[in-house]
Symmetry: C2
Subunit: 205 residues, 2 copies
């Protein structure tokens, strides 16, 4: 049985998918959930409040799915880069871009909570099998934090009208470990972009 | 002769340097400027409004100074990276970090206006003298946009307590052209960090 809170969250999520964030009201959410209007404010302070919770839960679930997908991937750097590509496409496809770009600090907080542990585990394992050069490298937390800001940068480029696949390629060039030969990085990225089409639907549904 | 608007801007700037953004009011600014309280609202809608204008003017002036400093530098990549380092230290020293981190989109807009033309000129010249590999490269506007988001990422790390010189080094590793051998990048960065101490005071005064 769904709790009342879950019903509200599901209703909000459906509405976001249908019409985007801008025009959704508490009344629309309760109507969609077959609940009385007043119920909304027992669980959430505002539409902003419920949107944040929807986004937090979805991103957490998506991060888990990505981690499971990547677990059998022996090339940890490939997995790490692919995780960034998938999150980027997921946000674009899910119509979250504009909303997130107005709340970049919130996005950083949420994605750090949802994915930092998995992502830094990938990086640590890459170091252990010598895929990453330990000596010249950044603190892993610091590296992941900058990589997440690059996702925001990439979303900003989408808002400015740049083309999605091109932006994703640029994003991955930045996220790829420094010092890797360009040809190797390009091969990695080609491989990732080839698999994205197959994997993205699993995240969206 | 200073205009009334300039007097207000100068007073706001002095107060920011003295006490940071948080506690400044319109009354404090007009007192500092030896003007009547009501004068403030003839020129600015709010303290937020005047802060934005102070920051915009300062960043514009700093970008010009950096461009002049770098103009004789034959190594355009060195100049480009150093520009990022100087902006980063300028913001930290000028006590702007916390304020900017709450307004990242504003920062991106301002720095793009102030520095995009100079920065992309540096990159274009680097391409012409084959310092940058044209074939595998990003659109220059796109590259600069992501590099500016990395400055925000670096400031976020400062807010989270990471050490300034270490964060600057990480920032420059990301901003450095992909595909450059690690040892070359590290040499470039060492060179930049050595000159920062001499150049930063020129920007601050």
């Amino acid at each position: 049985m769904l709790t009342t809170q879950d019903k509200l969250l599901n209703a909000a999520f459906s509405l976001i998918q249908e019409e985007g964030f801008e025009s959704i009201t508490a009344a629309k959410i309760t109507t969609q959930a077959n609940l009385g209007y007043g119920t909304f404010y027992k669980y959430f302070k505002s539409t902003e409040d419920i949107f944040k919770e929807v986004f937090r839960q979805k991103l957490k679930a998506v991060s888990e799915k990505i981690y499971t997908m990547n677990q059998d991937e022996e090339d940890k750097i490939f997995g790490y880069l692919k995780g960034h590509a998938l999150i980027f496409y997921y946000i674009c496809e899910g119509k979250y871009t504009n909303w997130i770009m107005k709340r970049p600090n919130y996005f950083i907080e949420i994605i750090s909570d949802a994915a930092r542990e998995h992502a830094t585990t990938d990086l640590r394992e890459a170091m252990e099998i010598n895929q990453l050069d330990q000596s010249s490298f950044l603190d892993l937390e610091e590296m992941f934090a900058l990589d997440v800001w690059l996702i925001i940068g990439a979303l900003d480029l989408i808002e400015k009208g740049f083309e999605r696949d091109k932006v994703c390629r640029s994003l991955l060039r930045y996220v790829a470990p420094q010092g890797l030969p360009s040809s190797l990085t390009e091969n990695l990225i080609d491989g990732i972009l080839l698999t994205i089409e197959d994997d993205l639907p699993q995240l969206l549904h």
